[in-house]
């Protein structure tokens, strides 16, 4: 049987969702027979591959880089999943949203430094005005809320998709 190509992506989050993914513990061994992780923080793939079956995305869209990345990922992915509250709602990264970006950077890098009081600008991506959830930029196929989502829920979703079932976690209502 052809292995399912799975990618995991980490945008503006804390990696807690990726840790919860690993919290399936030894189940990863049997899963490794059915899937290939073709991209993500755990592997050394070069570029986001052209045809990926399932992509799990942790984190909010917070910088210009995040935005470019998620648009490219959407084009190359069949099933896109918002993994965890930051991807689903913006969550903690969005706590900065009522603060102008320059004030935030001023506080951290100018007022908060003892030497070289300057705002980083060389080869670092610009922040967007606000950290926003994935669905505001691209079509999302499944949501898995939680901070982080429980390991069992993540494994359950992957298993459902592998076995061709419609995942039980549906599309939550917003607002």
């Amino acid at each position: 049987m052809k292995k399912v190509k799975v990618a995991t992506v980490w945008l503006d989050g804390c990696s807690g969702c990726h840790m919860s993914l690993l919290d399936m513990d030894a189940a990863i061994i049997s899963l490794s027979r059915k899937i290939d992780i073709v991209y993500g923080p755990l592997v050394d793939a070069q570029e986001f591959p052209e045809e990926v079956d399932v992509t799990l995305v942790e984190g909010a869209v917070s910088s210009q880089d995040d935005l470019n990345k998620i648009r490219k990922i959407r084009q190359r992915t069949q099933i896109l999943i918002s993994l965890g509250d930051c991807a689903v709602t913006g969550n903690v990264p969005a706590m900065r949203n009522n603060i102008p970006v320059n004030k935030l950077l001023q506080r951290v890098y100018v007022d908060g430094s003892d030497e070289k009081k300057l705002i980083p600008s060389d080869r670092v991506p610009a922040l967007l005005k606000q950290a926003r959830p994935l669905r505001e930029f691209v079509k999302v196929d499944h949501w898995l809320p939680g901070c982080p989502p429980p390991a069992k829920a993540i494994l359950g979703l992957i298993t459902d998709l592998l076995e061709g079932r419609k995942p039980e976690v549906g599309q939550p209502k917003f607002g």
Binding site: V108, K116, R123
Partner: protein
């Protein structure tokens, strides 16, 4: 001049990239390490009630949320001006040691073992934990089981593995139940056995890595880590010690609240991660390293028998002060052993089941500092509040920050040794990423303030303008 960009650096916890400048002959002219994410916790927590800080700052990092919960809770203890009950202190230590085990196991087995076992220049598509599972199933299972042991202790105490609400200002939310204690005790021997076979395996393997040991961040710096009054390694309580490159103790017994006298922070134009430095030597001369290597260099001993035997052997083999960052991996394994021995001592302490685990109080001080040794090094949370307990100012210095200057220099050293611009290949660049991995940097933590080794080569003119760019 050409510039190579490695972005993102893979198999690390966070968003980073490396740029390498090549001169016209293809030699490495310079290399820089960039952290590319910033979230601004210091700013957006202004106005929040201080007791929310553990829950919010845990979300800085999903790998070591316990570290932030503990440093934050200690800062809150100081604002409440309470001494937490003895059992609470022991339970916080217990959960902290469990976190050290899981976090170090993740770094060693999941993130860096693919380099040691499959080869730094091996097929990039297989050079990951899945490749290790396929080729070295027993070692892979050991890593999975060891990480699981640490997380099951966390789960037993704190219910959730990630982002628990069990650690609170004044202590912990609930005492330890006897059945959980008994389960931890019964699972300890298997966890110890894993470390006891991994350490000899890695010590033998070190002979194959002489070249890496010689150039992976191998230069003299100071080291810092927390110790007790006797100079023993401490991870939860203790004071900070700085040891010089030649082995003298430069500063000792620095309490958390005095950190600003010794640690300054500098902003860098090319990174969202600030660079702390040792104040008496100034910036950028005051480079020091923290984390497993920093701690084993700073401390006089570990304080548990099996770890002390390994500690001695480590220093006999690599000197009183071991300078290569490749040895972070070795130090990490010794610390797992130390953490398991410490867990054993704590769960055998009858006081661990005591039900007085939380002190309550309001705002009794307008400022508080909490300092602990997180898996990756010294972590400091510093808060100021108003009379109502709302945060008016916060500063966080994370472990990877302290290492920022040293990581930058290490990247430069490895790039100079391995990268040849006239015949570039992926393996050369993976060596540069691997030295970053040795520090186990947590760029998630670093950016309170992935996957691919994508290679982009930019052709620049002398002013640095991009003339041409090739991506793979």
């Amino acid at each position: 001049m050409k510039r190579i960009t490695i972005e993102p650096i893979s198999r690390i916890e966070g968003h980073g990239k490396i740029t390498i400048q090549l001169d016209d002959e293809g030699h490495v002219a310079g290399a820089e390490f960039h952290v590319t994410q910033i979230r601004g916790f210091e700013k957006f927590t202004e106005g929040r009630p201080f007791y929310e800080m553990p829950g919010i700052t845990a979300r800085i990092c999903g790998i070591c949320p316990i570290s932030h919960l503990l440093a934050s809770a200690k800062a809150c203890d100081a604002i409440m001006a309470v001494r937490i009950p003895p059992a609470a202190r022991k339970l916080r230590e217990l959960v902290h040691f469990a976190q050290i085990v899981q976090s170090h196991a993740l770094s060693f087995f999941y993130l860096s073992a693919p380099d040691f076992l499959l080869g730094m220049s091996s097929n990039a598509a297989r050079r990951n934990v899945m490749g290790v599972i396929a080729d070295y199933p027993e070692l892979a299972r050991d890593g999975i089981e060891l990480r699981k042991f640490g997380l099951q202790v966390v789960e037993g105490l704190a219910v959730e593995r990630v982002h628990t609400s069990w650690i609170v200002p004044g202590g912990v939310a609930k005492p330890l139940a006897a059945p959980v204690r008994d389960r931890i005790l019964s699972e300890l021997p298997a966890a110890k056995a894993i470390v006891e076979r991994t350490i000899p395996f890695f010590k033998r393997a070190l002979d194959n890595f002489a070249e890496q040991i010689a150039v992976f961040g191998s230069f003299p710096t100071m080291y810092a880590g927390m110790v007790n009054a006797k100079g023993d390694l401490q991870l939860y309580d203790g004071t900070l010690r700085f040891r010089s490159a030649s082995g003298e103790i430069v500063e000792d017994q620095i309490p958390a609240e005095d950190y600003k006298h010794w640690i300054g922070e500098a902003s860098l134009r090319e990174s969202y991660l600030k660079a702390p430095y040792f104040v008496p030597q100034g910036f950028p001369a005051g480079v020091y390293r923290v984390g497993p290597l920093g701690r084993l260099n700073a401390a006089s001993r570990c304080g548990t028998p099996a770890a002390d035997a390994e500690f001695q052997e480590f220093h006999q083999r690599f000197g009183t002060v071991a300078h290569s960052s490749f040895l972070y991996h070795y130090a990490r394994l010794i610390e797992i052993l130390y953490a398991l021995e410490s867990i054993e001592a704590l769960v055998n302490d009858p006081q661990i089941l005591d039900t007085h685990v939380r002190a309550t109080a309001g705002v009794n001080a307008l400022e508080g500092v909490g300092m602990i040794e997180a898996p990756r090094g010294t972590l400091i949370h510093h808060y100021k509040v108003n009379d109502e307990g709302a945060i008016t100012w916060a500063n966080l210095i994370v472990a990877t920050g302290h290492n920022n200057l040293a990581i930058g220099r290490s990247v430069q050293q490895v790039a100079e040794h391995y990268v040849d611009g006239t015949k570039l290949n992926e393996g050369m660049l993976n060596h540069v990423s691997a030295v970053v991995r040795a520090y186990d940097p947590c760029l998630s933590c670093s950016t309170h303030a992935a996957g691919s080794l994508a290679m982009t080569i930019q052709l620049l003119d002398r002013e640095g303008t991009i003339l041409d760019e090739i991506s793979n």
